[in-house]
């Protein structure tokens, strides 16, 4: 019987290559797949490009990957937080590159990556530093900035429940970036708090259909 459920975190992150672009779900801690990030650290891949809303908190999650020197570039909307000292130090030391993207543009670029859209015009950021060097266009009298899709080699997803077909549901605001990231990577790995039986998840309420998910691990 077909199953995307893998046993154990090591199996979940198996095969992630050095230099991969890794999309990591979560907004702050909500929906951040901490156990998968720890497993990725264990697995050893380095030279990573991490795409996430933040650049790590305190000494866990993305901050651990950063502290271990595994991350070459961070693409995020908000690196600076009260407890982002790991990122801050690396950044000031020139040891990690940063691309700052407005939060809604980040979400939309990832969605575009998963949806086969080649790029789009957004009014967000028009006339600001973050639009410098980017194509702009006036459409119906309003200024827009051209933004390109973002895709990952891998996505690490923090979900609530998932079944063996890969169907996922999230819980409250931990949904955040996870559904788009699940669609935009070559290998999508989801950690779930509970495994559901096939048919248990309401087909009207599945947020990420199984087609977008390659591996599911209970963690």
């Amino acid at each position: 019987m077909r199953t995307k459920i893998v046993s154990g975190l090591a199996a979940a992150v198996d095969g992630i290559a050095d230099g991969s672009t890794v999309l990591i779900g979560g907004f702050g801690l909500a929906g951040q797949p901490l156990s998968l990030i720890d497993a990725l650290l264990e697995q050893g891949a380095s030279g990573l490009v991490v795409v996430s809303n933040n650049a790590g908190n305190a000494d866990f999650g993305i901050a651990r990957l950063l502290a271990a020197g595994r991350v070459r570039t961070v693409i995020c909307s908000f690196p600076r937080q009260s407890d982002s000292y790991v990122f801050d130090e690396l950044y000031r030391a020139g040891k990690v590159e940063l691309e700052v993207v407005p939060q809604g543009t980040l979400a939309e670029r990832i969605r575009a990556g998963g949806a086969g859209i080649g790029g789009f015009f957004t009014p967000t950021g028009y006339g600001t530093l973050l639009a410098e060097g980017k194509e702009t266009r006036e459409i119906d009298g309003r200024g827009y900035v051209f933004e390109k899709p973002i895709r990952g080699d891998v996505a690490l997803i923090g979900a609530y429940r998932g079944d063996r077909l890969g169907n996922l549901v999230y819980r409250k605001t931990s949904r955040n970036f996870n559904p788009m990231m699940a669609t935009a990577a070559t290998l999508t790995i989801a950690s779930v708090r509970e495994i559901a039986e096939v048919g248990e998840l309401d087909p009207e309420a599945v947020v990420t259909p199984g087609i977008h998910v390659d591996r599911v691990v209970a963690a």
Partner: protein, 208 residues
Amino acid sequence: MSLDRDALAARIADDIPYGAYVNLGIGAPTLVADHLDPAREVTLHTENGLLGMGPAATGDDIDDDLINAGKQPVTEHPGAAYFSQADSFAMMRGGHLDICVLGAYQVSVRGDLANWHTGAADAIPAVGGAMDLAIGAKSVWVMMDLTTKDGASKLVESCSYPLTGVACVSRVYTGRAVFEVGAGGVRVLDTLGSTLDELRALTGLELS
């Protein structure tokens, strides 16, 4: 005379119309929520993916999966809805929110907003949802002090800090006065007891 931060929040709350959909930015603007009359049925949006946000959560109500854009634990009202950040920012960018209340470093007389970056050479840039909020809602209101601690006006002819959005703010609430800004320039909506000359002295702007 001037309003303190809480009184200013109450004033803003009072200006929000019945049934409005509102996003309150991180920092001082969140105080507005405490002054919203429930009978007015204002619906709060938090851009991390919730419409129908309730008050801050305390004690047993704290749920790590239910936070606001400032990553503080909050609650949900009956009739709430959760969605992804793509959908949440589509809601914002698409002009569906009635009002967004934001803090600011500076606002220009034509409504330019600077609230994400001090421009300091060693600052780590971090924009979050600021640029999306700046251009998304039907009306963008700023809640800020009129002057910095050093006495410099934050309502300016032209922003010296890097912009968050161009010509996006329509109203500026400060403890000293309420201003309208935009294509037509700046206008005092409510002096809050200050005189025009006092406001001119504080801002260095031609005010009427």
